[in-house]
Subunit: 205 residues, 2 copies
């Protein structure tokens, strides 16, 4: 086993942005949990990557399970921030928000997330009933609700089925990134755009 991991925490403890142990630990967990899976990474490896030690880790997180919960919450917050940015960019135009979201989807499927959705991956490894699963499930539910609201605001006729379809296409694309041909996932943004263009709308016309 090579312990060689490139910890990008180069702005180390000297007083940089990530100088506090708790943040460094969470950042290291984000990296390692995502790359190797929550069950394949030990707390010591996380502490090492965070340039601290197990003891300090356990002073901030009372167990590995609680660290996993914090990890899930962090990811959910990041996902929420993406939506927030999109909303702020086009506060008056739901259609533009949808388009911006599809752009975002296209971007992350082409350039990031080679290991799929971190929250979905974590859910796969955690037993039903694990406290982190609550976070994951409510986040995913919320995300679909966001799509429903957006479709309604953009005057699509059937926001709910449309949100189902778009949501599942996106989830399928992310899981497919790491099993099987990447092609379908890379082409999903086109499917989404076509879907948005052709779905029936309410009102005029």
């Amino acid at each position: 086993m090579s312990t060689a991991q490139s910890s990008k925490l180069t702005d180390v403890k000297g007083g940089g942005v990530a100088s506090r142990p708790r943040e460094r630990i969470l950042a290291a967990a984000k990296e390692l949990f995502y790359r190797h899976g929550v069950n394949a990474v030990g707390v010591e490896a996380i502490a090492d990557a965070a340039l601290t030690n197990k003891m300090t880790l356990y002073r901030h997180f009372k167990s590995k399970d609680e660290l996993i919960v914090a990890y899930a919450r962090e990811l959910a917050a990041e996902g929420g921030a993406v939506w927030q940015r999109i909303d702020d960019a086009h506060p008056e135009d739901p259609q533009k928000r949808l388009d911006a979201w599809v752009d975002y989807v296209e971007d992350i499927l082409k350039n990031r997330f080679e290991r799929g959705c971190a929250l979905a991956n974590a859910a796969v490894e955690l037993q039903p009933g694990h406290p982190a699963r609550t976070v994951i499930e409510s986040y995913k539910k919320q995300k679909r609700e966001k799509l429903v609201a957006l479709f309604a605001a953009a005057r699509y006729r059937d926001p709910d089925p449309l949100a189902d379809e778009v949501f599942l296409l996106f989830e399928g694309a992310r899981i497919s990134i790491q099993c099987g041909d990447r092609g379908p996932a890379l082409r999903v943004s086109r499917v989404l755009r076509q879907l948005l263009a052709n779905a029936p709308r309410r009102g005029r016309r």
Copy 2:
């Protein structure tokens, strides 16, 4: 199931369905790997569940990784058998094969697979490069190709994009079963049927 090939009467351990250790081990692995994840289950637990011991397990599988590969192969073979059954049931009518597949999808999403696709779950837990990932990836690729061929045979105009969409919807439904609202996954069969009904076809009419 249980296409048991044991011709002997000396079936012991468990009622006689699977008397040979290798089969019992693989069956136990299937159950435990699926329910808890490949990284969360130890070889000893598998041996115990198979009513045998670690030593016999290692006589049939030279490592846990190789057992995981055998597990993946088993799942892929089962998936192939489903297609085979569908093909045999409607050898002359590709449209009926598609309909039968949607029925199958609906069934497993409503009644089985509460933990999603076992192969996709395994891929999440395994590093890229793990021998089992090869099995998983080629299976998924093959499955999409099967859809393309079926759409072509059923005279759909654009089999490839259609297969992409159907494939991703199904994959998304399975992963969504265990994170978030189950609603979208339970409604996907309706989306699929609608998709098949409305997609443009080649030729006459």
